[in-house]
Structures are given as C-alpha cells and as structure tokens.
C-alpha cells in the first residue's frame, strides 16, 4: 500500500556526546559554572526545608515556644526567597547556555554545508541534510536546556535527600530505600518501552501527514482515477494505526507513573509504621515523621523524571552522532597553499580529461580548446556527459585524469572563490530565493547598484514585469518564485547573471515549453548574455545551436564531433543524425 512503513528501531549511538560538544561548550565555561552553581544552591536550599519543619514541631510547637517558631519562620522565609532566586537564575543561565551553544553548532553545520563537496551533497538526500541542521540540533538544544543540567540537578537532589534522611534517622532511611532497586528497575524498563512506543506513534503520525499532504496535492488525480474509496480505506488504516500506537504509548505512560506513585505510598506507609514505632519507643521524635514524608516527595519526583531525562539524553546522543558525521566530513574542495588570483580572460582548455562517478566513466579523455569570447553549443543525448563538463569547470567535482586550464593555468591552482566569481551558471531549473527581487538579482551583493540592475533588466526586456510587481525591486518573491511565470523567472536569472558580469558563461538551456512570446524574449536574452564572453551552452533550441561559433557533439563521454552547424551537417555524422531525428523526419511526415 501507499506510504511505506517507517523504521521503528531507535537509533544506536556510538559517540561520546560530551567530547563532541566540547568545542562548542568550552567558550561558555563561566556560564556553565554559574548555571551549575545556581541550580546546586537552589536544590540545597529546597532540601533543607523539611528539616526546618521537623525543628518547628520538635523544638518549638511541641515545647510551646512561639517566639522561637516566629524566628524559625523568618529563616524559612529567607530559604524560600533564596531558593526562588537561585532557581530563577539557574533556569535562565542554563537556557542561555543551551541557546548560545546550539547557535554555534548550527552555524558550524551551516558553514559546513556551504563548503562540502557537491559530490557528497548529491549522494545525501536533501531531507537528511535539513534534518541534521534543524531537528538534530534542536534535540541537543533540548538536552542542554532541560536535559543535562536538570538530570545533574535531580541526582544532586536525590543524593542530598538521602544524606538528609540519613542525618534525620539512619534506620528509617534504610527502610525507605529498600524499595529503591524495584523503582530503578521500573524506570529502566519503562524508559526503554516508552521510548519505543512513542517513537512508533510519532512515525505513524508522520505517515498520516505525508499521506495527507500528497493526497491534497494530487487531489485531482484521486478524483479522475476514482481512488476515493481505496484511499479513504487506506487513510482510515493509518489513522487507526496511529490511534492504536498512541494509545499504547499513553497507557504505558500512565501505568509507569502510577507504579511509581504506588511505590511512594508504600514508602509513606513504611515511614508511618516503622517511624511511629520508633517514636513510641523513644528512638526518635515526632517531628521526624512529617519531615520524612516531605523528603519522600523530594525523592520520588526526581525519580519519576529520570526516565524522561535519559530519553532526552539518548535522543541527543543519536542526533550528535549524526551531526558529527557531517561536521567531521572533510569532503571539501581542496585548495593549494598560495592560489593564483590573476585576472581571468576566458580561454579554456581541456587536456585528456577523464572523470567518473563511482565506477562509471562519464568523460573519457576529452580534449578541446576554447578561445576567449567564443560561443560553444554542446549537444548530445541525455547522459552523454554534457553537464559534467560544466560541473568540472566550476570545480563542483574534480577530474580524475588529464587537466583543465583557464588562461593556461590549472583550475585547481586558482583560488576557488576567484575562479567561481569569474564564471556564472544558468541552470535548467531556475532557482528563485524567498527574498526581494533586488536580492534575487544581486544575491545580497551590496556593491551592485540599482542603476546596474535597471540597466541589465532593461537590456534583457525584464524591467517591465519587474515594474509591474507591487513594489518593484522591493517586491518579495515567494518560495520558488510562484508569483512569477516560468518565463519571467528565467529572465530574472538572466538579469542575475548579467549584473555579475562573468567572464565565462555556462548555460543549461531549459527544455520545458513556454509560449511563443516569452520564448522570443528568452532567445534574445540568451544571445545578449553570451555577447562578449566565453560561453558554453547545453543547447536545446535550434536557434542557439545555429548561432554558436562551434558545436561540440558529445556521446558516451567522448567528444565525437566539433565544427559549425554547416560543417557538421555536411559531415553527415552523429550531429546530422540527431538533427534529422529532431526536426527533419517530422517535417517529411507532416508535409
């Protein structure tokens, strides 16, 4: 059926989370100290409170010392206020620590994404990279702001409670603690089962969302292909899966809480029975009993949370493992120590260039020379290696054998930034950012003036539709530029390219059909873009092919033919064949 099952196994972790986070934490040593100090003090101040209650009963209420009780109350009030202040400061500082650490981690991730090789990015699904930068870092955020410090805090509270209990009455403490192994066993068992149960129900919810999203997007297909009943049946199935799994998780959750509750009641009964016995035999005072009962809450509340905290830590550890695989990835484009930064003219030469993706050779000993200002059209069947030539020039990938030179210098010797800023690529899939028209053109480069934009836009006949947008250059474009037509988006990327004034233009012509009017503007645009610069175009339009200086015919990774349109037609070779399939046959059929 539709929407495959999602893997319900919790991820295994093999990383020391502190070690991986250390580079990000070490900047904030002071905050860590401050947060730990505040939380520790607030815990201690809270733990003292029941002790004062016992003292109130034993030392003042039972012996009827009212002024003493008032004095004690003042101390108690101070304790309350102090614990409030430290608790507040502790929460704020630990949040701040978490936020500052995570923002650094996010920055590091994002910077890594900007430098990682295209080869790596191509192999990793987009969704995975997004999740690493957002959700996985958010898991660590949760760890930092409500997991780690609180866990330490809970443990301190537990230990200090036990210490106070021992101080109050050692025998009674042993009676209280005899349940501890059972409680710990419960926590370990349930934290594991609950984690699994919630994971399954979350995954089921994801399935519902994916299914819904797709059904709404493809609703017209559901209608025409009469899928209403079948899809409804399936939706009911996944909705009921979700309901079952969520119920299972929630039910186990309550069971766990009630079992812990029950243990707490048993401890209370033990205190009353054994404590009462000790009071009667004079071994301890009556005030010990309410104090013990109060400490029991201090004991069980953190225990109840312990499982949850461990889950947060486990999630964070799993996320950290995944983040680390990206942060530790060195698959970036290598640069030499003293790179060349001389001005680029635009002479390109390929010398026996070989390249392969994995095991498959895509380019086999391709050699050619392109003079500065020449217009080259590349044609050939899909998968022949046309776009690889562009990817190699831009150093999105590095070739394996041979050499690529620009103005006689190996492209690997240029400073990467310098090399790329002299080239521009216009891709088939036009890409529009969710930003203003101006920023889409300048890509945030403030050195490009409005005059330059207007000049370029007018030159490419794009100024009219820009002016027609509600706020001209300041109009916000939506994601993937849906408020512009496809043709307009193409023109906009042309303006983007023109204002950056590259020496070398790489263009992958779009195949998708637009109406004739727009088509004309686009063709003119391409001609204007190519004017005066070295250009390599993966061509689909006949006019582009004919207007180029030379045509490279690529087939199966080999440069099969080169020459002008006329020369190649005369040759009656591969180009002639491609050309006739595309155009001539149909004309014969139809006329």
């Amino acid at each position: 059926m539709m929407i495959p099952e999602i893997n319900n196994q919790p991820e295994k972790t093999q990383i020391n989370i502190l070690k991986s986070l250390y580079p990000f934490l070490k900047k904030h040593k002071r905050l860590i100290l401050l947060a730990s100090f505040c939380l520790l003090f607030s815990t201690i101040l809270t733990s003292i409170q029941p002790l004062l209650l016992r003292s109130a009963i034993d030392n003042y209420i039972v012996p009827s010392d009212y002024p003493g009780l008032v004095r004690l109350s003042l101390i108690f009030l101070l304790l309350i206020a102090g614990s409030f202040l430290f608790n507040y400061a502790g929460t704020i500082t630990s949040f701040l620590l978490a936020q500052r650490t995570i923002i650094d981690l996010r920055f590091a991730m994002f910077k890594k994404l900007l430098t990682l090789s295209v080869a790596f990015m191509g192999k990793t699904p987009l969704g995975v990279l997004i999740t690493r930068t957002t959700n996985d870092t958010e898991n660590l955020n949760e760890l930092m702001s409500s997991g780690a410090l609180q866990l330490i805090n809970n443990i301190i509270l537990l230990i200090s409670t036990v210490v106070f209990l021992l101080f109050l009455n050692a025998k009674l403490t042993v009676v209280v603690l005899f349940l501890l192994p059972v409680v710990i066993a419960l926590i370990i068992y349930f934290s594991k089962t609950l984690r699994q149960a919630y994971l399954i129900s979350r995954n089921n919810l994801t399935r519902i969302n994916i299914y819904m999203q797709e059904n709404l997007s493809g609703i017209s297909l559901i209608k025409v292909f009469s899928r209403k009943e079948l899809n409804t049946k399936f939706f009911k199935q996944i909705a009921s899966d979700y309901k079952q799994s969520m119920y299972n998780a929630l039910r186990k959750d309550i069971m766990f809480r009630q079992l812990i509750n029950f243990s707490s009641y048993i401890s209370q009964i033990a205190v009353i029975l054994y404590g009462g016995y000790m009071v009667m035999t004079g071994e301890t005072t009556i005030g010990t009993i309410p104090a013990f009962l109060a400490y029991l809450t201090h004991f069980y509340n953190p225990l109840r949370d312990l499982g949850e905290r461990f889950n947060i830590i486990q999630n964070a550890a799993a996320s950290m493992t995944k983040i680390a695989t990206i942060l530790d990835n060195d698959d970036t484009v290598p640069e030499i120590d003293q790179p060349v930064k001389t001005e680029i003219q635009g002479n390109i030469s390929f010398e026996k260039v070989c390249f392969r993706y994995d095991t498959q050779w895509v380019l086999k000993e391709v050699s050619f020379d392109i003079q500065k200002g020449e217009k080259i059209a590349i044609v050939g069947p899909t998968g022949a290696g046309k776009s690889t030539i562009m990817n190699l020039l831009l150093r999105f990938y590095d070739f394996e054998k041979g050499c690529i030179k620009i103005d006689g210098v190996d492209i690997r010797d240029y400073e990467l930034k310098h090399l790329r800023s002299n080239m521009a690529i216009v891709l088939q899939d036009v890409f529009i950012f969710k930003d203003t028209i101006r920023n889409n053109i300048t890509m945030g480069n403030k050195d490009i003036s409005d005059e330059a934009i207007i000049k370029a836009a007018k030159h490419l006949n794009a100024w009219d539709f820009i002016l027609n947008q509600p706020r001209g250059l300041d109009s916000e474009l939506t994601v993937e530029g849906t408020n512009l037509s496809h043709g307009q988006k193409q023109l906009l990327t042309f303006v983007r390219t023109l204002v950056h004034n590259p020496k070398i233009l790489l263009l992958d012509e779009a195949t998708s059909s637009v109406d004739t009017q727009t088509e004309k503007l686009i063709q003119q645009g391409i001609e204007k873009l190519m004017h005066g610069r070295t250009s390599i175009v993966i061509a689909h339009r006949l006019s582009t092919i004919i207007n180029s200086d030379r045509i490279f015919v690529i087939e199966k990774g080999v440069l099969a033919e080169t020459g002008s349109h006329h020369e190649l037609l005369k040759k009656r070779g591969l180009y002639y064949q491609l050309y006739s399939i595309q155009f001539a046959q149909k004309i014969e059929q139809n006329i």
Binding site: K228, M280, K434, V514, T516
Partner: protein, 582 residues
Amino acid sequence: MKRVIGYIRENKKQYSLILIVLLLVDIAQLGIPLVVRSAINNISQIQEMNQLVVDAAWLLFFALIVVSGRYIYGAMLRNLALSFDYQNQTALYEKYLQLPDSFFHTHEIGDLMSRLSHDTLSIRRFMIMGLISAIDIIFMGIASLVMMIYLSPQLSLIAVLPLIILIFITRYVSKHIFGIFKKIQQTFGSITSSVRETLVGMKVIRTFTRENYYFQRFSDLCSSYLKINMNLAKLMGVFHPSIAMLISLTTLIVYLIGGKLVIDNVITLGNMIAFSQYIQTLSWPMMAFGFVVNLYQRANISMKRIEEILQTPSAFALQKIKLKPSIEVHNICFKNLTFSYPETQKTVLKNISLNVNKNEIVALTGLTGSGKTTLISLLLRFWENPPDTIYLDKINIETIELDYYRKFFSYVSQDSFLFSTTIKENITFGKPDATMEEILEASRLAELHNDIEIFDKGYDTLIGERGVTLSGGQKQRLSLARALLVKAPVLILDDPLSAVDPETEEKIVANIKKYLKENSSICLMISHKISSLAWADQIVVLANGNILEKGNHDQLIQQDGYYAYLYNKQFLDGWKELNDDS
C-alpha cells in the same frame, strides 16, 4: 463544541464510569491526610501500635484505590479522546476528497493539514487534561476547602491566600506561553525553509560565491530564534520557581499560624499536618484552573476550524440530478461555453463550441492564460460548468453522477504529480489490481520501461525523499503510463511531454497513436510543441478564451496564422538549413 458534546453523549456510559472512578479516587485522596492525622495523633498521644497498623492498612487501601483508579480512568479517557481524534481525522479526510476544486483555491494545503494535525491535538488535550482538571477543580477544590475549614476555619482563611495568586500566575503564563510557542514554531519553520532553500540553490550560491550573504541570512534567523527562546526561558524561569515558592509559603503560614494554634491547644498537631497536606492537594486544582480556561479556549477555536470544513457543502451536494446513463462515448460536445472563475470577473472562456468524435485526437495550444487548462478542468468537472454547455453522447454532463462520470476519463496533469510510493503503485494508481503484463504494456507505451530496468529494485523502487529522485522527463513518462494503464474512453493530456527529449517524444507520440487506435479512444491534449501538435486530427488555437484557429495541420499552415507562425519558429528554420546544405 457541539461535536464534543455530541461525542460525550454518544459515549455516555463510558464517561459516567470515568466520572465515578474519578470521584472514588478523589475521595480516597481526601481520605489520606485524615489517615495521616490519625496516625500522627496515635503516635504522639495514644501510642498504640495496633491502632497504627489499622491506619497503615487504611492508607494502603486508599493508595490502591488512587493508583488503580487513576490508571483506569486515565486509560479510558485517553482511549476515548484518541477515538474522537480518529473520527475527526477521517471525517476531515473524507470531506477533503469531496470538496469542489474552488475550495482549494481559497485554502492553502498547509492550513488544511494543520486542521488535521494541530487542531485535533488541541482538542485531544482538552478531552484529556481539560476534562479531568475541570472535574478535579470542582470536586477536589471544594472538598479540600471543606476539609480544611472543618480542621481549622481560621487557618484556612489565611493559608489559601498564596494559592489565589497561583490562579492568576498560571492564567497569565498559559495565556502567553501559547503565543511564544507559536512564534518558536514559526521561526523554527523559517530556519528549516532557509536551510532547504540554501541547499536547493547551492550551485547558484557557490557559482556566484555568495556564501557569506546566505550565511548572514541564516544567522539572523538563528539569532531571533535565540531571542524568542529566551523569552520562553524568562517566563518559565519565573513560573516554576514561583509555584514552588507559593506552595512553600502556604506551608510556612500553616506552620507559623497553625503552630500557634497547636501551642494554644486550639487544634491538635495531627490536624495541623493533615491541614498542610490538604493545602498541597488544593494547589493542583488551583493551578489547573489557570490552564483549563486556556485549554478550553484553544479547543474551541480548533473545533470551529474543523466544523467549518465539515459544514462546507461537498461537490456532490451541489448536484441536483444524479443519473448513471449507459454511455459509449461517441462524442464530446462543448456548446457556447462561456466561463469565468467565481472569485474574479475576468472571462476565461468565451463562447467556445467544439465537437470531438470517437477515434479523434484534438490538440489545444495557445499562450499562457488562454484558457486551455480551464477547458479541460471543466470537462473533468473540477469546476462546475455553466448550465447546458458540455455534453457527453448528447447527455448534459451536469445530470450524470460525478463518480460515475469520471470513470470515463484518464488524465495526465501538468505537474505530473507522483506519490511517494513504489513505481508500480504509481502506475497502477487507477487500477490497483492490474496484472504485471498490463503494467509492462503501459510502461513500454510511455517509453519508461528501459529507465526502470536500471533501478536495482525495478518496479518496486520507491520514489521521493526516501527513494530515487526522478528527472522531469521520467516523471512525465511515469504519469503518462499511469494514465494509459486504465484504458479509459477519454484520455486527457495536459502538456505531457514538455520535459521529454525529442527522440523519446517521437517514439511516445507513435505509441500513443497506436494505443488510441486500438482502444478507439478520444484524446484531448494541450501542448506548446509542434512535434506534439502536428499529428492531431483537430488543432485548436485558443487566445484570450476564444477559438482563434481550428483545423488539421495542413489547413492551419494554409491559414498562415498563429499555428503557422509557431511552426515556422520551431521547424522551418531547421528545415531550410537542411535544404540549403543538401
């Protein structure tokens, strides 16, 4: 909230049971401090061990009731709430499939999704937490107050004061926290889209070496995310400690004032300790009061959003006559069809008349916005057509039952939308029980088979984020295979081959021709490419909602109009070149 009340009424028995168990638990909870009081008094005054054992037995009994009762009503309540969720989700889903297309023009998918996920969640929260707390507030609140007054009226008056502040604090926090969480979610969403955008546009960013600018944009978003999170920290930083402080404060008052009363022999020590336990019990309903109001308000808004959808009339409801005539599809006829979309005044189609017969191929072309896709949407009845304008075998289509009507059609949409499942399930979308031969046949007709064979898992390969990413051309061919498999009498193709390379396009066109002849189907196709248009029996050029030209290839070339211009543009340049050379 009518649906909620209706649901509770439907499950009267279960809810009554929950109420009874809840009350039992509350009574047991109220009994516990009394047992503790008796125990303390026993220890300090009577000093009788047997009595203490009786107290302990009572405590155990009450504890058992509390623990098992909470488990029982908790599980029941959650089960009921989740079933209500399920009802709402499936009702929404079924409704979405029945709504007319016009509805989707005024509602965004994201909004419709959030009604199914977020709104059901806020209703569920109310159905679980809200209901329990409401009962607890009323019962436990009043009962513990009564018990406190019974133990010591003077003490009650003063000790309750801090708890009243608690009501206001929770009310304030629950009001603001909702807004903050919403903002956190929104900003997190923006961060996600920023990352997505940067990744998708990575090649462009790198070529223009603008990495710094996009990092700056990302870091600005992260900084505002930090700020909002700190707002949350400030709120929570005050909230939790002040609850702890207020509860401690009540204890302080109980000990200070209560201690005086014990010293003056007005109350016993046991009473004072029991009192301090009741006041702890009371603190929970006091806190709950603050957020129950908020839970209710949010559930109410969510319920309204869901009911709004459920009450929108479905496409079926709009149709008055619903017939299922026997149709062989000899003829489709558009008669003086004029149409404009409801929300705009602009006329998209003007007085269109067109006759299509069996075995005919009709191609539609024209500028963007000329009305081609609208014409097809009307024929497929995504939109309601004006009365008496479209006929199938001389039967007015408005009178034909919608689901029955659509069985005569098969369709390739412009966006060639695919579902993220296996290739096989996408192809068999319109006929889930298709045999492997049928699948292969459709796949070969669409020139898709060779592409699929390369994949390790063949037809069982997953598409989408968790599987392979298909190229634009492959997507189009897959959606074509999906349409060809069902062998419906009418095949509708909305620009099906725009991203397919010319060689393959040539083969597919030949395949479709053969297919149409074998199945004697009618075919309507939109295209901008002459190579896809030329072979049609009728070519219709639309401009601004009018039929500008109509005829076959030769006729239109002779007319020397738009079509001829298009033809010259796309073909003749090349043809001349070829002739010049040979």
